[in-house]
């Protein structure tokens, strides 16, 4: 081989390596979905880590478990009456808020009794080192703290499902195994019984995909009206709004709940539930 062809091979090698490096770096960066996330385990599903101020105060971030709270109260109680935002971290909870009886402190005030159990006080303005154990009830992220409730013990008698918490919450309520309360004394306004809204059907865009049967009944019983309308769903009349799975996956409309707390989107047939005619 002469010197010119050796140089050409060398140049080609450099270009090849440069291209390989470029692909390795730019490939994941240009990907829409990024790195695949690990699917949360049943007891982790719905978990919210609240770290707005904890670390600045020298405490571990708060670990909030949706599963135990949703077994005691409907979504509306916390997200309408108590005032928790639907997006993690958006409520901007402070220890002072809790100490003054707002947010977590609306229940966790050391006085309120739920299911015969006095709830621990969430935050106090003048906490002492002796309060550490009480603080760690919630400020437990990254710590080995034994919870008051064991998920497996709790979920053992409940009907099972495939995804999310691995539970059929709706059926669990129907069977009377859980009784989420729709009111919180001193916080919730006394209301008339909710008029049962009719369930309805939505036709998917993809041919052959089973129709969606939307359980308005269940959604209104748990959420009331104002939790969903108009901030999450802007159309009352069927067909006025169009939803796409891309948007839902991004956390819009149904995805506000069904990507984080309510059964996840992977459980297709729980929404696309109308049998397809042969």
């Amino acid at each position: 081989m002469n010197k010119v062809s050796m140089n050409q091979i060398k140049t080609a090698k450099i270009i090849f390596v440069a291209l390989a490096v470029m692909l390795a770096v730019c490939g994941p960066a240009s990907s829409q979905t990024g790195i695949k996330k690990r699917r949360p385990l049943p007891y982790e599903y719905g978990r919210v880590i609240i770290r707005n101020y904890s670390e600045k105060a020298g405490l571990a971030p708060v670990v909030f478990e949706h599963w135990i709270h949703r077994s005691k109260f409907t979504c509306r109680v916390c997200h309408v009456d108590v005032g928790f935002a639907m997006k993690a971290g958006a409520t901007d909870i402070t220890a002072a808020d809790n100490a003054h009886g707002y947010y977590c402190g609306a229940c966790h005030n050391g006085k309120r009794v739920v299911d015969g159990k006095t709830l621990f006080q969430s935050c106090s303005e003048h906490a002492t080192p002796e309060d550490t154990k009480r603080c760690e009830h919630c400020h437990s992220y990254g710590l080995k703290v034994a919870s008051d409730y064991d998920f497996f013990e709790f979920s053992e008698p409940l009907p099972k499902e495939r995804f999310g918490n691995g539970l059929d919450w709706e059926k669990a309520e129907e069977l009377g195994l859980i009784k989420p309360s729709a009111s919180l004394e001193g916080v919730t306004i006394k209301r008339n019984a909710l008029v049962v809204q009719k369930d309805f059907m939505l036709n998917p865009k993809v041919e052959g995909m089973p129709d969606i049967i939307f359980s308005h009944t269940k959604h209104t019983v748990w959420n009331g009206c104002e939790l969903c309308h108009p901030e999450i769903f802007v159309g009352v009349k069927k067909g006025t709004s169009h939803y796409s799975m891309v948007e839902i996956t991004e956390g819009k409309s149904c995805g506000v709940c069904h990507t984080k707390v309510a059964f996840p989107l992977a459980d297709c047939q729980r929404c696309h539930s109308k049998p397809v005619e042969p």
């Binding site: 108590v82 003054h100 306004i189 209301r191 809204q197 108009p230």
Partner: protein
């Protein structure tokens, strides 16, 4: 006996007279002492009025679909009137205002939304 029967009777009469005179005077006095408190009562009542109004207006959201457009318009107006009252009240701290204003926003939003849908249906 040191005192005569006549003196005793006179003494009793005097006591009864004094009590009869003092009774209404004490009663009026107590009421008069309570007067400054009762003048503060309207202020407290006004402070608490917004809460009653809030409970009344936002306690009807579950019936929103059954209201006429006129009823919905009235509820929206009442929500709009409530907003500055909650903003100004001294009974709530900043977080309390944030919570109640958030709840008010949701219930007003629902009424406005149902009204809008009803108007669209009419057309």
């Amino acid at each position: 006996m040191f005192f005569t029967t006549e003196f005793k009777t006179e003494f009793k009469t005097t006591i009864i007279t004094v009590l009869l005179l003092l009774g209404p005077a004490v009663f009026c006095g107590v009421r008069a002492m309570g007067a400054p408190q009762s003048s503060a009562a309207p202020a407290n009542a006004a402070e608490e009025n917004w809460r009653k109004e809030f409970n009344d207006v936002c306690g009807k959201t579950q019936d929103a679909m059954s209201f006429t457009p006129e009823q919905l318009t009235d509820l929206i107006r009442r929500c709009d009137d409530l907003r500055p009252q909650i903003e100004k009240t001294g009974k709530l701290d900043e977080t309390g205002k944030k919570v109640y204003l958030g709840r008010l926003r949701m219930c007003r939003g629902l009424y406005a939304y149902v009204l809008d849908e009803k108007k669209k249906e009419k057309k």
